[in-house]
């Protein structure tokens, strides 16, 4: 099961452990594709566009309210909404729904910033001596962890989960810190480019993370297809004496995904083997097990925070795909529209049939509009030739999908039940554990769109359970209302009854009293008038 390799012995002799394996997965052959790898010319800096678009949306895809007004001047790094910072110095020109990178081509309320001409450039990260670096890290680590909020750190792997939340959600402490230096998908090379360009900053960022999380071990997982990057990083780690070990993992899609990476590094399977708890919580989060997975780009961004107090406002984006004229890696400020990135690198599609994708060939999607801005989740922009649809044939249940599924599901069974909308069966077959990697689609001899069906089934199941919850709440409110109305009616009846009773019981007495009183008053009046 275990894969031996020579790299491990050479660079991390004190922690000799071979990576574990995981079920399924695919060796994807990408050698024929236009790649940015190895012949890359480093990371290109992109000029700042005149207009930046910052979508006001959080990790859970909920809209958030802005903290700035129109015409307000914002500085770089200023918080403009909870968890969101302004990527540049400029003026808020408008706050309106704008397109963003979304599979459905939706728009979301966004802050549009007109950038000012005298914006500061990104100076190259300066690398201090090992001693000075340790001092800086120590003083940073002594600050409360909430300081990280200013950095607006989110995972740069593709999902964009806030790093601070990730670290804080590990209630029982962090045992293992995994630095993800494996690219998610074959077409992406942004992590590799960063490792080649700035290994020292990454190494120092990792050291900061180790100090912050107080973890017992830190493992940097690099795919064996990047020996050069590994060498660079390992030298930097030795130079700064970082408490981390490098583990070379086999290049097999989808090792870069969190679930599989954790399995490869620690041998623990977290996300699956839970057939009997439908819909609700079929997955346990890694932090519950004391494992935290952080992307290498995030570590780099953290070092920028330590070194010059700069928040995360840009990232490296791979420009690739078969129809990309100048494939390269560029550092892009968040909020830069995709078409600006393409035109600035002379990659504007010359062909109407060229599709521009974000997120990779497998877990990504085609963009509806090139006006959508780059965000922390955008690890690549791909230009691909027109898609030739292969019509799906009937499933013969050959089971090749089950053989490659990295989370050991039975896609053929899931597909059968997802198509007939049997959501209970899907839940029993643990559909929620599907990581939507697309391996099953790739091997399917009948070209069935399995992953699309699963995404649909998952979102429908979620929709139904939300509806159910809403219905429960509505029922509760209805019950409360009934109760209230009943109570009110009862109160009213009781009040009437009480009055009646009061009238009845005091009937005679009061009446005679009243007459007496009236007579008395009349008499006294008479008397007084006489007098």
């Amino acid at each position: 099961m275990r894969v031996r390799n020579a790299w491990r012995k050479q660079f991390s002799a004190e922690k000799p452990r071979a990576p574990f394996s995981f079920h399924g997965g695919l060796k994807l052959d990408t050698s024929k594709r236009a790649l940015t790898r190895f012949n890359s010319t480093g990371i290109k800096e992109l000029p700042l566009p005149a207009k930046l678009v910052v979508p006001l949306i959080d990790y859970h895809k909920n809209n958030i309210e802005p903290l700035v007004n129109i015409q307000q001047t914002v500085s770089r790094g200023q918080i403009i909404a909870p968890g969101i910072i302004s990527p540049a110095y400029g003026t808020v020109s408008v706050i309106e729904p704008c397109e963003f990178i979304h599979p459905g081509g939706l728009s979301v309320n966004s802050v549009v910033i007109d950038t000012h001409a005298n914006n500061s450039e990104n100076p190259p990260v300066s690398i201090p001596s090992a001693k000075a670096a340790q001092a800086m890290i120590n003083s940073f680590a002594e600050q409360p962890i909430e300081t990280l909020e200013q950095a607006a750190l989110v995972g740069l792997g593709g999902a964009g989960f806030p790093t601070l939340h990730k670290i804080k959600s590990a209630n029982n402490g962090i045992h293992t810190l995994i630095i993800n230096a494996a690219e998610c998908e074959p077409e992406i090379a942004c992590d590799e480019a960063l490792m080649l360009a700035e290994p020292e900053a990454i190494a120092l960022g990792i050291e900061t993370l180790v100090q912050l999380t107080q973890c017992q071990q830190c493992i940097i997982a690099i795919e064996d297809s990047k020996p050069l990057a590994q060498q660079q990083l390992s030298e930097a780690i030795n130079t700064f004496d970082v408490n981390a070990a490098i583990m070379t993992i086999p290049t097999r899609y989808p090792t870069g995904a969190e679930t599989t990476l954790i399995e490869v590094v620690t041998g623990k399977r977290l996300a699956y083997r839970n057939a009997n708890s439908p819909t609700t919580k079929s997955q346990t989060t890694p932090s519950e097990h004391g494992i935290v997975c952080i992307n290498i780009g995030t570590a780099h961004a953290l070092w920028q925070m330590v070194e010059r107090n700069q928040a995360l406002d840009s990232r490296v984006v791979s420009l690739g795909g078969s129809n990309m004229r100048n494939p390269c890696n560029v550092r892009v400020r968040f909020g830069t529209p995709v078409n600006f990135v393409l035109s600035a690198t002379d990659n504007t599609p010359d062909n109407a049939h060229t599709r521009i994708r974000a997120g990779g060939p497998l877990s990504g999607f085609d963009l509806h509009s090139l006006n959508a801005p780059i965000t922390a989740n955008t690890n690549c922009i791909l230009a691909e030739a027109a898609f030739i649809e292969t019509p799906a044939q009937p499933c013969i249940r050959c089971g090749q999908c089950a053989d490659v599924c990295p989370v050991k599901l039975l896609p053929q069974q899931l597909h059968w039940y997802a198509q007939s909308e049997d959501h209970d069966k899907c839940a029993q077959l643990n559909l929620a554990a599907c990581i939507e990697c697309g391996c099953c689609d790739l091997v399917c001899p009948a070209s069935i769109k399995l992953t699309e069906t699963f995404r649909y089934a998952k979102s429908t199941a979620r929709f139904l359970s939300e509806q159910n919850q809403k219905a429960d709440e509505a029922e509760q409110r209805f019950k409360n209302r009934e109760e209230r109305l009943k109570q009110r009616e009862a109160d009213r009846k009781a009040a009437i009854e009480k009055r009646k009773q009061a009238v009845k019981s005091q009937d005679k007495k009061t009446n005679t009293d009243r007459i007496k009183a009236a007579l008395e008053r009349a008499r006294t009046k008479q008397k007084s008038s006489k007098d």
């Binding site: 079920h23 013969i396 050991k408 009948a446």
Partner: protein, 336 residues
Amino acid sequence: MLKPILDTQAVSLKTLNTQHIMLWVLAALLPGVFVYAWFISPLVFFNIALAAVLAVVFEALALYWRGQAIHGGVQDGSIVVAAVLLALAVPPLLPFWQLAVGVFIMVMLGKQVYGGLGNNPFNPAMVGYAALLVSFPQTMTLWSAPDLLNQLTLGHLLNAKLSLDLLNPNLLIDWDGITRATPLEHLRTLKMQGLSVDQNLAQQQFISSGWVWTNLAFLLGGLLLLYRRIIQWHIPASVILSFALCSLLFSAQNVPWYLSVFSGALMLGAFFIATDPVTAASSNRGRLVFGAGIGALCFIIREFGGYPEGFAFAVLLMNLCVPLIDHIDMHWGTSA
């Protein structure tokens, strides 16, 4: 504009499509077919051709009735594979119209009423075979004798085969002359008469009948499929193992287990019939159970049942259990 969500063409990965899989299965059947034709009867070519043509015609007809694209439905080749399997399973001398009935049942009741490829719970070829076996028990157990083949012309045999008049007494006498029971049927007859079987004689008969060689040829084809990863090892291995184990432990007949494994339709069944993925269990664990069930049932029917060869029934019975196997498997967790 089309917005593909999964860009499968961006990742170059060589995979087989359904048509390729079916072609590979047909190719893997070839050695078995030739050995069968050599040792048992060359009439099998006629049967295969007839069954394949009829199957395609019936399939096209059914697709036309259902208002579906005929070309797309037929071209995957699955029905041809099923037809060849049925033609290999029936005796070579089966009258052609009976074979046609079998093919019709296979296509219509076995496959198309359930919605075509991928929807049928039962193995279509075995549905056709079982229907033929219970409908025409007399002709379905007529096997030609290999040593007599040389003395009769092929035309003679074809003539007998094409005859519509099944119950013609002259023909029956004629057939008695040219047919002989398979070793399994011979064993069965002996058992019925309460006679014990001499081991050496049985061995000799098993080997000389050519069934062993045919089975070996099918094993060869099966190994090819395994090597090409068209099929997985789970089902054939468990079928053969459970059958061998059963005959080793419980067989009352004097036939060594290594010979009974290579008799009848066991190899053809284990590698080509039971591995039909549509009607087999889903998970690898389930497939082991599925295969073991087939092996055991096949042994039980051969040893104690009323039919000389029980593979078809064993497959159908386990097809019946597939939803149960999947159900239990699902509740035991998804990982195999």
